[in-house]
């Protein structure tokens, strides 16, 4: 069974998904960050494939993309780094990226390599539903890759139903009308949207992302979904990290450990 599906079937506590950009801050950090995240208690890890024109991302993640590209990160390098990761990494791993570098790499080769290294899912923000269904779905499924769609507060109910019907793994709920890292905290209006979607009783689990940066926003979002995603805040942490392994451990603990403790008390 796909590790993402397994995770959501087994887990009752909120799922913490952490995003980082491959090749940032240094080219060879990928495996160290993966391992540290897993050991610190991240439940799901999303690795960004850097791109020159990441339109859905705000300044923090854009900047990490630029640095990663300067460091020499490519899809070829990343696949090599991920080879053998399943010897030590058990948590589900999702690749996030824009379509062009993947198309140039070759879609079939990409899917094959993902399966070989043990990638469980894909988040491709500029892959529209129509293209997915006509050209990509079969290939992704053949290689055991869950395609994760996004929804936003502007997404209509009919469209959410369509996304739900076509989703595997989880639905990525963009918390507000924004790019990544644009807003902090959660407003009343956003809660209205979270509740509206929660009441739709979708078959696919949901994770809330964009604007989640600390324990408070993580717990708040997790009341309305199976968990949440932290991206820009984690990139900011890596940017200033002297001892990345310890800093990652402290960061994840600051979000998770008290939550696990309070869940145990319940």
């Amino acid at each position: 069974m796909n590790r993402i599906d397994q995770l959501f079937q087994q887990r009752t506590e909120p799922v913490l998904n952490i995003y980082f950009t491959a090749g940032f801050p240094k080219l060879d950090d990928t495996r160290t960050i993966l391992k540290s995240l897993q050991d610190s208690g991240a439940d799901l890890i999303e690795i960004g494939i850097p791109y020159s024109d990441p339109v859905a991302d705000g300044p923090t993640i854009q900047e990490s993309n630029t640095v990663a590209l300067k460091n020499g990160m490519t899809l070829k390098v990343l696949m090599n780094q991920l080879k053998g990761m399943r010897d030590e990494i058990n948590v589900p791993v999702v690749l996030m990226g824009y379509l062009n570098p993947i198309v140039q790499y070759g879609i079939e080769r990409f899917c094959k390599d993902c399966q070989e290294v043990g990638v469980d899912g894909l988040i491709l923000p500029d892959l529209p539903m129509y293209e997915y269904q006509t050209s990509y779905k079969q290939l992704f499924e053949q290689h055991g890759l869950n395609n994760i769609f996004l929804i936003s507060p502007q997404t209509s109910e009919a469209r959410i139903r369509e996304v739900d019907a076509n989703s595997k793994g989880f639905i990525y709920m963009v918390s507000s009308a924004s790019i990544t890292g644009a807003k902090k905290g959660i407003s009343e209006e956003q809660i209205g949207y979270f509740e509206r979607v929660q009441n739709m009783q979708l078959k696919t689990p949901r994770l809330i992302g964009f604007g989640i940066s600390d324990r408070e926003s993580f717990l708040q979002a997790s009341r309305y979904a199976q968990g949440a995603i932290i991206g820009s805040a984690f990139i900011n942490l890596l940017k200033g990290a002297d001892k990345p392994e310890q800093d990652i451990k402290d960061f994840i603990s600051s979000i998770k450990r008290p939550a696990a403790a309070s869940a145990a008390v319940k």
Binding site: T155, V163, I179
Partner: protein, 397 residues
């Protein structure tokens, strides 16, 4: 099947293998609303009445089709110039912005955003926003704001806010990224006026339709002047490709009319400093559509170069990618040097100082072989006032 059917967009937004709508889900509701309504609005009597009225009384259409006698003598053919340089604001760009501002009003949008490279589309957008009293924000690469200072001031004078794009390479493609990000952050009340036949469906088709007035007029004017509405050649420069799309549009299904698209070769097609997309690019995805794109082996978009800021874009519209792929149009490339010479030449032989973009189309005539009775229409997409500084620096006149 008529050949026209091959070149127009299909229901999924494709021109052959190119086009589509590769956008983040956050933009889907906006783009979908536009897709659902654009044809209905464009074809409505009210839109047509307002659009035609503004084109006539505000833009100054129809623009003349001028037989350039001395240039014709030089080249040994009948060279007609479609004088888009005489449009209000100095280029064809305003045909599109007049149409899209009416579109925005019909959609009930209150705010306008746009991207701009050289600043011509930004000025044309700021102009129609002033005309309609709508708030206007223009994203412009930080490097371009320095290169094109007068246009920045023009936009401000017209009441627009100019926001420098600080990300990536800080030029047109990054200004487009920033405009898209702004739209993601402000989906409800904002319309994004894209300046060329690029972007997700329905933008390329909508912009082509709004620029199609150029070839509609060429047909009428040529018929009046020569008795035949079909020339042998239509020649236009291509950055994203809006003026070429407009000049080609009503000739797409006339196979006897040869369409010539002219790209900027910068310092030479293979010099590493060029914007000759079809010569250097391969299929890829940028700014919402699948098209031909200048990129690295790993699929990172590369930074183009041309002396002309309006041609300095790493892709071309999917409309043109399909014309290239299907060989319906010939694609030529012209260097900085040759374009500048053609610009000076037109200034001295016809008393018309062309925009450097348009000078690329003029220079391409030197690469072509004509018969003495050939009728050639060159789309003179803009005037050279904005380029005076570049002409002065280049010298040679």
């Amino acid at each position: 099947m008529s050949s026209k059917a091959i070149f127009t967009v299909n229901e999924h937004g494709y021109y052959g293998n190119f086009g589509g709508s590769y956008i983040p889900e956050m933009l889907y509701p906006n783009v979908e609303e536009l897709r659902e309504k654009y044809l209905q609005i464009l074809n409505s009597a009210e839109f047509q009445k307002d659009y035609n009225h503004l084109l006539r009384d505000y833009v100054g259409r129809p623009t003349p089709l001028y037989l350039a006698n001395r240039l014709s003598e030089q080249l040994g053919a009948n060279i007609y110039l479609k004088r888009e340089d005489l449009c209000h604001t100095g280029a064809h760009k305003v045909n599109n912005t007049v149409g899209q501002i009416l579109m925005a009003k019909a959609l009930g949008k209150k705010k306008i955003i746009a991207e701009t490279g050289a600043g011509q589309h930004g000025v044309a957008t700021a102009t129609v926003c002033a005309l309609m009293g709508l708030e206007c924000i223009v994203y412009m690469g930080e490097i371009d704001t320095q290169r094109q200072r007068p246009n920045v001031e023009r936009m401000k004078l017209l009441g627009a806010e100019v926001r420098p794009a600080l990300s990536g390479s800080r030029t047109l493609k990054d200004a487009t990224n920033e405009a898209m990000r702004h739209w993601i952050n402000n989906p409800a009340d904002t319309h994004y006026i894209i300046g060329s036949v690029v972007g997700p469906h329905p933008y390329p088709d909508m912009v082509a339709r709004l620029q199609a007035v150029i070839s509609k007029e060429i047909r009428e004017q040529l018929k009046e002047k020569t008795g035949n509405e079909l020339p042998d050649y239509v020649v236009a420069c291509v950055g994203g490709g809006s003026n070429a799309a407009g000049a080609f549009y009503h000739y797409l299904d006339e196979p006897s009319v040869k369409l010539v698209a002219v790209e900027a070769a910068g310092k030479g097609v293979h010099s590493g400093e060029s914007a000759a997309t079809t010569a250097l690019g391969k299929p890829g995805i940028l700014h919402g559509s699948k098209t031909i794109l200048m990129q690295t082996e790993d699929g990172q978009v590369t930074e183009p170069y041309s002396i002309s800021a309006g041609l300095d874009y790493p892709g071309i519209g999917p409309f043109h990618a399909h014309l290239f792929d299907s060989k319906r149009a010939d694609f030529l490339a012209v260097t900085d040097e040759d374009a500048m010479q053609a610009g000076v030449n037109l200034s001295k032989t016809e008393g018309i100082i062309p925009a450097i973009e348009s000078a690329h189309a003029l220079s391409a005539l030197q690469q072509m072989k004509f018969k003495s009775d050939d009728v050639v229409v060159v789309n003179l997409s803009g005037r050279g006032d904005k380029d005076l500084e570049t002409y002065i620096k280049w010298g040679g006149y």
